[in-house]
Symmetry: D2
Subunit: 366 residues, 4 copies
């Protein structure tokens, strides 16, 4: 259950304060040129300490590919995939395990401390252990590889911070300049809205509190025909991928929850002669299968549970205790969630693409 995907599969391992985070990527097509600098750059987008909006932890998070690639003729920073599994490792460096000693026997509110203990009878209490968002490092590595495969196929994945608290940018992505996503630390492409979001995050941080929001995403260049009908619907796979990210509370695609107040006649996407549609309420997916239009979706993230203020809770014995978190934590996960959302979307789309390559062309017709 630490494996995700059907053909392009990521198996991940690692705890927040163990020796390393890493994984194995199976099913990557052979002959793909991987730019190692791009993979590292994606990790850097996820890295803590990149701006005053994120935690001050300074994790260098250097990835090493251990297998499944071979040197290219051209460049030291380019490796060629061979079709065999790509093992990778990111050493954990900046341990402050002692920060967590006081939490050894304590269940923090709205964390996974209690549920891990209930499930396993044992847990690694340091920094959340396996439930830490550090686990998403493995996803970003796999996503960076998937993105490069998709790029060869003309498919592009973008995500951005669409809302923080009540501050939201334009919902219609075609009216945003997605090249500006990384121009603000909050990763909202509308720089005016981005500034308001940043101010809100800093204010909330100053109060020792946290705030949630929405990451929006779009996949362009995706051919029609991806996704499996019934249980493997493309949006069901995307939804599962997004909901598996730490702190995610909801997922919608196309018009999503907003469609419920509309009539069917208002939601119909009419065809052009080339089978594109005049509108895209569907979000690029019909019956669970991509229709060639951009795939749009949104993910809700809760305010992170770790507050920098004293909290009442209980210990292993059910006794009341007061905790005062001392670790370094994000007041808002949104800016760092953006590359993770992109990574999971890229993994899902590439996997669906590869799964769809499986048919020989039998040509009998009815």
């Amino acid at each position: 259950m630490n494996t995700f995907g059907n053909i392009f599969r990521l198996t991940s391992y690692g705890e927040s304060h163990g020796a390393a985070i890493g994984g194995v990527i199976d099913g990557c097509p052979p002959g793909l040129a991987l730019d190692l600098n791009f993979i590292q750059a994606e990790l850097d987008r996820r890295r803590p300490g990149q701006s005053r909006l994120t935690t001050a932890r300074n994790e260098s998070d250097r990835v090493e590919l251990l297998s499944g690639v071979i040197d290219s003729r051209d460049s030291d920073s380019v490796k060629i995939t061979t079709g065999t599994p790509i093992g990778f490792i990111v050493r954990n460096a900046d341990h402050h395990s002692s920060d967590y000693d006081s939490l050894r026997d304590v269940f923090r509110p709205s964390h996974a401390d209690f549920t891990y203990q209930a499930k396993y009878g044992i847990r690694d209490h340091r920094g959340g252990g396996r439930s830490s968002a550090r686990e998403t490092i493995a996803r970003v590595v796999a996503g960076a590889i998937a993105k490069q495969a998709l790029s060869e196929l003309g498919i592009d994945v973008k995500a951005w911070t669409a809302q923080v608290g009540a501050i939201a940018c334009e919902r219609d992505w075609t009216r945003l300049d997605l090249n500006k996503i990384d121009d603000s630390p909050v990763r909202c492409p509308d720089l005016n809205v981005a500034r308001q979001m940043e101010e809100l995050i800093l204010r909330v941080k100053g109060e020792g509190d946290t705030i949630g929001g929405i990451v929006a995403g779009v996949v362009t260049g995706c051919p029609a025909g991806l996704g499996e009908p019934v249980f493997g619907k493309l949006h069901a796979q995307l939804g599962a991928a997004m909901l598996s990210i730490n702190a995610a509370k909801g997922f919608e695609y196309g018009d999503g929850f907003a469609c419920i107040t509309k009539r069917g006649s208002q939601q119909a996407d009419h065809f052009n002669p080339d089978f594109s549609t005049t509108t895209n309420h569907s979000g690029g997916i019909q019956g669970g299968i991509s229709n060639g239009m951009p795939i749009t979706f949104r993910v809700a993230f809760k305010p992170v549970a770790t507050l920098l203020q004293p909290q009442e809770t209980v210990n292993l014995h059910g006794e009341a205790v007061t905790i005062q978190p001392r670790g370094r934590h994000d007041p808002c996960v949104l800016p760092r969630a953006v590359p993770i959302v992109e990574a999971m979307a890229a993994i899902v789309i590439l996997d669906a693409y590869l799964l769809n390559c499986k048919f020989p062309n039998f040509k009998s017709q009815i």
Copy 2:
């Protein structure tokens, strides 16, 4: 990809106008007494033609269990599971295939006609073929079996229509009387709100149009410890299950999308000495693992795409055509979606329960 689940697994088959809908349920625990009348009653809740809110199609939908059970001593309507796979079949009876002849070469707007053709190069055009909601019959059968296993374990699954268009009932389920869900044809337990929903649906139907809404659900009696961390988070599995239902556009659990405007300090669920929590913003799941509190979730359904009014669209050759649907269709899927949502939730929870039974009791401690 027509299989769902890990230990308790449903594989389904069947098209709207083929010979039958059916499936195979693998991994059902042995020794479970199955009440066949209950399974049929669940199918009847899903059946078209049950009220003036639903399509006039009169499908009797009788299920036959073909294997995996053996007679009980007590009653003809009770069978005992043996642990081997339960095959089942529901014959398609009320065919009006000729209703669809005019649609043979046409792609209806916001249907799966075009995407199936793009994926497979061939499709069964009669009544949507495999993309028809008739496929959910198999889910309801499996769900009815899962519900009976869960009942033995003290776990209960309930869903209801929480919103139609802009008309919504109380969100806090503890303030609703869930015993009244089936007292109204729209399956909203607040009978006053139910009446308003019914009026809206009938008005929309009169206009040849359709309307969407929200189904809410709650799982009670679920022990702490279910769900797999990382990719197999319990809410990710629930989300994938719900999003795989026809017409679903969004999923949220706990406070869902509403949490984004709250502060972390407002969202913390504080522990009681017995490890229950004073509030349940989390929706019964922390870090992807159940915490013993009720599991709450909501699913958004779009207005159905089939309108009873003329629509412009294109045919296989991209040429403009006008269609006038003649089949019998629901103006609103919500009432019939309720048992399907319950079925999928029951399957997910039972599967998670069985997957969690896997550990021998090693007792080494740190």
Copy 3:
């Protein structure tokens, strides 16, 4: 665990004396013309009662396809696959359940009675229930469909009875006329050897005893590149498939067990300039991947455990009892095992073929 395969997947259900045997075939490529008469003919090859070498049970075993196909223009006996799951059912007809009443509380020696009871705490005692070889009906249906897909790809699967007791035909298949396999009831293509095998089987049958043997198989026309390295080696998948057939006790491919007394220098298959090899000790597979040469393998089947003579055994309480089987049983499974071996081989090879279609052509080179 009642599902086999990765892309082309068979899920089967059914007990010997339940309502039906059947299954669901998922992942069958669309646009394939299925000859229903061929599927039925394959079932007839597996059917009991076809000769005096097999049991006298007269099972008509008519298969009905329930989904996943659509009428062809040309013939009522030809259906076209649509890419959606193919459900099928074979009703159980010739019930002599009362033959088994005396076995309700008895564990027959070398049968699965005790182990099913140990595993599930309950069992369907009639005719072996799920452990009956009647379950292989589902495999033959799926295999007949796989064979037709393979035929379109130029791949052919053949199996034959290579040994009964000590009587064996030539091991080198290129010196046999495989068109004669069905010319003898024992399905050995060397008709002279076949006669001796038949005599032996009839003699053993006359003694109320049973006898085992070897089925050999060959896959021709298989392209190089099928099979997954490491755990999914093509011969590991073939081996698992064969060993999952009732009464199978061993599997070998290429020179198999015979290679252990040879030197490496005697076993090397040298390349021709076209990359075919001058010999085929390897059996068409190197490193788990097909090399384009014929794939050869052999499966050992034990003498069936049901004897037509009194046997001492124990009942549920461990008390000694004597049983006198009254059902109708085969003295030798080999003749009827041949189509089952072919079916499983066809499923494995088609699945490997489809799994191998997954790669886009990235062309970076080292």
Copy 4:
């Protein structure tokens, strides 16, 4: 396809001359005390260079566990599992990559060079790349962990060299002293036979040739009820596991191929009053499910393909070339295959045990 198992799952990665061999073990039960020295000792049994019978390569093969464990109170060399995935890495140290430069464009006879090239269009030619037996390091690590879990459950797995060329030891394992397996470098518990095997291997080595043989195995203490009927039969899973080991050519369990010349009346295993059986022709498995008797099996290994003598072969262009292997290679894989066979058996049995834990106790009876 680089993942093995259902609940206890090993995903492996790594090439012979890449940076590392490693893997991820998912589904290991929590609370298990792991003796790191035992894991290393198992690796040492697999290691090259341990005797004059094996290659002179000196690979230290030190394993590091990266996650899924936490310190124990008692000892630095004992770690406690937490139920989360155990990532591990073994760095490749003793690279002689240049030994393989001459093989860059050459397909060695009876190796996987050609098939990898055919499958992927690219390959890591150094030392066989992913097809190298170095990959089995990951299996031995996972097997060493599985063995420790099985030990807690009272289950023991043993394997030994039963035959080299024509020299075989006693087949009835109860007449061997399995404590002596590691007393000879060839790992045959009959030390007299072991000496003859060693002489044969050294003679063959002196001729620049290689020789094959049989590894036998037995699992004791296994409870009745493990294994899934139909496709997941315990012996089918064992067979797939063994056949996935490099150089394996055949698998049999119980009396295996030898049973084909016996009558059914000679093969019946009669029950004792405690449901043990007086004989064990079945090899501890009936109908694919363990019956509580020792599970016995045998695996045939071919003579390794790499000869230390000149060989004629072809290059990428189909042109004739002569190769003179210069790497260091085993004349016989049997001694080092023993711990690998044990590892795979341990993984299969533990996985079956965990899968069998999945049923709650419903108690309805027929």
